[in-house]
Symmetry: D3
Subunit: 269 residues, 6 copies
Amino acid sequence: MMLRIEDMDRKQHFRMAYSETGTEWRIEKDPVIFDHDEELQEYNGFYYDPRITYVAEEQTYYINFAVHSDLLGVRGGQVKTKDFKRFEWIGFGTEPDCRNCVLFPEKINGLYARLDRPHGKDGTKNNIWISYSPDLVYWGKSKVVATTRPHHWDDAYVGPGAVPIKTKEGWLEIYHGVYRSCSGAIYRLGVLLLDMKDPSCVIGRCNGYVLGPRELYERVGDVPNVVFTSGAVAEDDGTVNLFYGAADTVMCLATAQLGDLLAACREAR
Amino acid sequence: MMLRIEDMDRKQHFRMAYSETGTEWRIEKDPVIFDHDEELQEYNGFYYDPRITYVAEEQTYYINFAVHSDLLGVRGGQVKTKDFKRFEWIGFGTEPDCRNCVLFPEKINGLYARLDRPHGKDGTKNNIWISYSPDLVYWGKSKVVATTRPHHWDDAYVGPGAVPIKTKEGWLEIYHGVYRSCSGAIYRLGVLLLDMKDPSCVIGRCNGYVLGPRELYERVGDVPNVVFTSGAVAEDDGTVNLFYGAADTVMCLATAQLGDLLAACREAR
Amino acid sequence: MMLRIEDMDRKQHFRMAYSETGTEWRIEKDPVIFDHDEELQEYNGFYYDPRITYVAEEQTYYINFAVHSDLLGVRGGQVKTKDFKRFEWIGFGTEPDCRNCVLFPEKINGLYARLDRPHGKDGTKNNIWISYSPDLVYWGKSKVVATTRPHHWDDAYVGPGAVPIKTKEGWLEIYHGVYRSCSGAIYRLGVLLLDMKDPSCVIGRCNGYVLGPRELYERVGDVPNVVFTSGAVAEDDGTVNLFYGAADTVMCLATAQLGDLLAACREAR
Amino acid sequence: MMLRIEDMDRKQHFRMAYSETGTEWRIEKDPVIFDHDEELQEYNGFYYDPRITYVAEEQTYYINFAVHSDLLGVRGGQVKTKDFKRFEWIGFGTEPDCRNCVLFPEKINGLYARLDRPHGKDGTKNNIWISYSPDLVYWGKSKVVATTRPHHWDDAYVGPGAVPIKTKEGWLEIYHGVYRSCSGAIYRLGVLLLDMKDPSCVIGRCNGYVLGPRELYERVGDVPNVVFTSGAVAEDDGTVNLFYGAADTVMCLATAQLGDLLAACREAR
Amino acid sequence: MMLRIEDMDRKQHFRMAYSETGTEWRIEKDPVIFDHDEELQEYNGFYYDPRITYVAEEQTYYINFAVHSDLLGVRGGQVKTKDFKRFEWIGFGTEPDCRNCVLFPEKINGLYARLDRPHGKDGTKNNIWISYSPDLVYWGKSKVVATTRPHHWDDAYVGPGAVPIKTKEGWLEIYHGVYRSCSGAIYRLGVLLLDMKDPSCVIGRCNGYVLGPRELYERVGDVPNVVFTSGAVAEDDGTVNLFYGAADTVMCLATAQLGDLLAACREAR
Amino acid sequence: MMLRIEDMDRKQHFRMAYSETGTEWRIEKDPVIFDHDEELQEYNGFYYDPRITYVAEEQTYYINFAVHSDLLGVRGGQVKTKDFKRFEWIGFGTEPDCRNCVLFPEKINGLYARLDRPHGKDGTKNNIWISYSPDLVYWGKSKVVATTRPHHWDDAYVGPGAVPIKTKEGWLEIYHGVYRSCSGAIYRLGVLLLDMKDPSCVIGRCNGYVLGPRELYERVGDVPNVVFTSGAVAEDDGTVNLFYGAADTVMCLATAQLGDLLAACREAR
């Protein structure tokens, strides 16, 4: 089950899409409606990159996405649903410019926790941060989690990707890293392991990337050389199903073993 | 009484400066020390542009300032003091990039309120925003307050300046606006009138600026054509003493009548 | 029958190319010569993007093309021919910077009419304009016809493409629109319907594009993700043969039904 | 007698200003109104830099000025008056981007003639051009007149300034030239001598500039180091009164002898 | 036999690779070590683009490569070996920014000679130069050899590629030329013929390129549309084996006849 | 005695200027001529910033200056004279882009030594370097001497200024440092103390600057906020006469005590 962006009337809306297999999808014709989203309408933007976090304790799905306004900048929007039929607008979670907000599936030390990427004026400051909130309304205690690495595949930007996966070793975060060549950006995916109790603390990080553009459909498309994820699902058998966009043109499904991703986090760096 | 930036050992610290007159100042030799500021030290930046808000209800002075880190961006730092002898670090109030944080002198609807200027990646989004907090730790309910005005003296940037002054008509905010010419920026000061109960609502705004570079010491210096304020004091007789930096080189004192500033807010725009 | 650019001695000349089928072409070895083009030689540039308009009333083909000079900018050049053997230079039709000039196949209200794209200093002003002339020498009454659409496939540039096709509903113009991604531009084609009597008035415009890069030869080449047209021929049976360049590397032929293109113009936007 | 820009309600209008002396001015309170300027209103811009040409043969004053629109670019606007009480809108004379339009005071070879500066996308193409018109509506036969000179005081931009002055030796044109330093632009004034019969032909050009920023009021102001003219009046005794703006802050009057300006045009370059 | 870059522990090292065929390669696991390279270690950079010159007279292989430091810029590094087992650091051959250093296989007029590309601050100055040295330590008598050609395939950059090949007609140099489109750079290869006695003198130069991106593996990859060479070997039978990187992703082998390359140098330009 | 740049016929030449006092100067009308400078003429540039070094051992004055070519970049030129009547061209001392070359007044370890500033493509690499030469023809053993200091007055550029002054403590070098504000660059002067035997080794460096723009003639002029030196003379009594340009508009003379400059080098940084 997955949300999908649709271009309609020049304002992008989310729609529901359903799949038994993860590769065949049925997309609903009508866009999703958020209850009580006057504040969002006022902001007058379009939105994209939804990340869905299931908080089991509350039996509720939280959806974080980016809301763009030409005049006012990009902020994090928040909605919740219990049944993917009714969605309720919670409110913005950030000032601009901030995007790639991803909520943890559990409270940590009694607080909601969120990874995000504040987007400073100066292109050298594109790091992954964490913030906490007692109520999803007021956020604070922000701290940097992971920075870009010079001359590496993630040297221009890093941003949170999938919802963190709880493992015995800590929170596994699949993130994207960007390298700028003289002919455009290359978006790839890597893995971070964050401390279970203090997820601002990185206890493992891959050296190389775990998924980079290689297939023709990842290399060639509207935006060449991009793989980008907003969602991954860990199965009970240790398989991680990674849904990712390729070349900003097609949606793909990759699979990995959780053990291999954790091993990558133990690489020496 | 005013804090002052001093360049010392390549890391800027604040120092106390005292004056009976507002024009003659005695500057302390030793920098101010913040208690419990490990988090600030870690951030490894330098800081500037302090704004001091006296919250009468708590008999406490809150100081908001910008903390700059090359790697991590500019954030809002917060300290408090009761006697200007001991200062306590409260914590950061924002993610990067955000500066020009100014705390209101009263809680509004039971919440602390702050004006600031988030500093988006794209230069067209340099507006004044407001955020609220129950405790100065978690902030939210952010909303844009005032935007730049095309082809006007404040068409490139606007940012909060002095601590808002409570008047019968609402909160009077002295802000800076920036215009970009082909030979550099011009920083000038204008006034906003904000609704007493809902300060995100602008109920008056000057058409022209109230103070712009005109004197030689405002026109000529390290950064020509700049007037910039971090503090203004309203006297009981209706005089507003505006302390401002000129050409990033000298500190100046200007005076105005509160009534005139309020009248400027009623200009038709 | 089509003109073609050839790189020769570092100065580009047009050559004739002939085809029975529209897909197999025989290209002449010798470049085309323009009579009386001293003015053009003096301008010291190279030229490209020819658009051929047949004005039936005069039994004459007019060719509009872009003439580039590093020192002086890009202007519209005009030649005419009756037989594609002798070509006569008419003169420049614009000051710099202007390109994508396309002449209407009929006079409108007694005046020649031309679509073009003036190319302002500031990248935000890349719109389709119309100008009129009594004699192809003096041009005026210029007006904007269609602007770029924010966050849409044509949000960075729009420019005239093929010679307008006269239909019962108005002038059908196939134009190009450009979107800028973080890895380069995407050129696509859309349709406009212009009022028969006042072609500065848009009476229909497609919402989506009618041709975008999708095939490998459109995606991959010297300039990836480009489809660009300088010519389309409407057959009597309603078929429109669209000749277009792909990836700045190959020439292609696409076909459409005039009715479908007109329907696209009726989309709600 | 001179027109003046006034900032009012964020839309700039011209006002009449009167002077006996050329240094003391009385400015009218009400802005000038143009009859039949619906086309101008529609363009939705603001305007500046008026140049007034008296065409004696028609006992009419023609005023050329720049009209700026954020969305559509800068174009040349034209109005005429016989008494400076009623002004009639003639129409735009150019597509965007073009500014600094200056009409010659006589028809040349039966055509109106105009100097201007088309403003190409690429900053290296900022030259003075000439265009002709039979009726002020349709313009053509455009040609470059004078280009920038590398490593000279006029190496970044050149643009027409005052209305050309008819002399026995040819048309004397006072123009501005721009040099870019690492701290902003320097605007200075030079002289060109154009052939009487074919004013696209330069028969003399100063080597150095004839007026550059030197006085404090020319060096220091909103835009430092600028002298810029839109008007000069040649008296019968050979005195040229040059009205010019300094530092985009004050209006000034300089005087020169026509003979000296002509001599400057004979400098070897 | 060829050196190869390997990314390892974020610092790139060279490794030996062996091949019988030129297309199948066995790469050594351990990186090459340079003796006495304290100076290089201190420079704290990474290195790439090795060019191997065999100086028969000395029975020694000299390897020139680029050494990059973020803080200090890119310089030319030099090592030598007789057996590809022990390598000795010679020293830097340039100040920054300079890259693409290629040593001639013979002394010329008693001096070592080197082609390189100094990399000036301004992007318009990316030409091929030559320098001389009595001892590989002190270099001088630098002269430009070949410049970029406007509006040609080599109009943005030119740089030395393979080690010059001695022919009866002069030194044959395979170089790269770069063209910038609106969607990134295109790297192609051309040929220069340099005078045998005075190799700063170009006696022949191809008009078109001899190898450009055409195959899918040259068009598509981490950096699309790149062919780039650091080495070519002329066989006794007149075959030139050209090793080149494609799309910054794969290594390729192309073959040409020396006679054809020399003929290309005789093209009229 | 000092050389001076004069603009004449758009090609800048040096002229002799004489003074008894250091403040009153008599400038020769005719430019200086260099013997055997065909190579320089060919380079087709203009030159500026001469630094004169007297090598007592050879009773010869060496003059290093920058030679600029739009096409080929900025290089260091070298001439010598014994009497300031006849000047002999020695040759270029660098490839482009390099400027601010300053020769030491003595050989060091048997080699000529030179400070300079290679000018890399990327603006972050603007440091002071040293090179050595046995003969002024071949240069090598280049090493960085001093880098820019972040957030300090010399954080954007540093370059050699005056000829190093031999003191008991080492070589005293007066250098310029540049800071970029939002309204242009600020050029100031500082001091370095270099090891007598190994001048690549910095043994002292000022914390603050020793001369910065403060007077109106340093603040205001063609390029505001610039002080820049190409020459300083140490008198026997310990006075240092510093000749410097202010605001790129006037030449000035400042004096300091050698002891004070050395003390500044001992500041803690």
